[in-house]
Symmetry: C2
Subunit: 204 residues, 2 copies
């Protein structure tokens, strides 16, 4: 009968998580289209058939790589800031300041995978482009909602334009990712972050 038993059969000879990590780095550096299956299998140390058996196809692997990226230190700091910081200002301040540190960090590819990995896609891969775009827009909505909560809790003035502030922060963060990929360092980006923060309508 149909089996689906994980313990049966020949065991996988490679570390699935490690292979996924290699895929994350490649997609992060070069993006979806510019990373070939050949590049992936070489970096993962496996053969095409093993890749397709373990991850489906290239698009499925990419989506899983995006999820894995979000679980990394450098890929999850924005979501973490939103969850952990108590006030709207502290959320935004941590986002911008950590972006200035993380995006140019030479221990991994520069910038943000979600922002830069599917900018140039062919017509048959539009799905991948919209997948990341939806993710970015969802993050923008989440930030706006977080700021609105801050407004209700009194750490943002009632007259503040929450939508504009969220768009502004998202714009600066996306620009910082691009700047980091263009070679900007953490000191330069830190000054950009402080300038952006100076527009904030603080209560203190």
């Amino acid at each position: 009968m149909l089996a689906m038993d994980k313990t049966r059969g020949r065991p996988r000879t490679f570390d699935r998580e490690a292979a996924l990590g290699s895929a994350v780095l490649l997609f992060w550096e070069h993006g979806f289209e510019a990373t070939s299956v050949g590049d992936l299998t070489q970096a993962m140390g496996i053969r095409p058939a093993s890749l397709y058996a373990a991850f489906g196809d290239k698009k499925a692997l990419f989506k899983e790589a995006v999820e894995a990226y979000g679980r990394t230190e450098a890929g999850g700091f924005l979501a973490r800031a939103m969850e952990e910081e108590p006030t709207a200002y502290q959320v935004v301040a941590r986002m911008l300041r950590e972006a200035a540190q993380v995006y140019p960090d030479p221990s991994h590819p520069a910038g943000c995978l979600t922002i830069s990995a599917a900018t140039n896609v062919t017509v048959q891969d539009v799905e991948i482009g919209t997948f990341l775009r939806d993710l970015r827009n969802a993050n923008l909505v989440a930030l706006e909602e977080r700021l609105r909560r801050g407004q209700e809790e009194g750490d943002l003035p009632e007259g503040a334009d929450v939508g504009a502030l969220a768009s502004f922060v998202a714009t600066v963060i996306q620009g910082m990712s691009q700047q980091a990929r263009d070679g900007a360092g953490s000191a330069e980006l830190a000054r950009v972050a402080e300038l952006a923060l100076s527009v904030w309508p603080r209560s203190t």
Copy 2:
């Protein structure tokens, strides 16, 4: 002998500038790698051999398309603002406000070609990626020099961090391009532009 006579031989049957304009639109929309030579010949209404005879190869056509883009209304407004506005603040204000209008304009592809057309490139096309990156960094240096001139002319305070201001403006503009490609409208981007402008150390 070697001829190089332009009037001799069979005349070209297509409008070279119009064909280049079609290439600009394709590269602007999809980027360098995601635009195939087949896409180009179809949009230009010519055959591969004609394209290669008229423009060299795909990379040369792209570089020429970037130059043509810079001569368009939507592709040259940043340089024009730097040349035409009298003070540092007016330069930056016009840059940001026009970006908010131009980048989401539905009469052409969203955002800036220079910013988004070579984000994801394969290893053998790194040359194209660095070509646009160098262009962006040259624009950043030019803005910084324009601001420094403004500082010398007294329309920026002596204590102002010119480098940080230039980086900040470049970051916001690049972020606005990305936001426009993600679907942001001119009203939304205009509010972002005003927020960014509010950090400016004005003398008035």
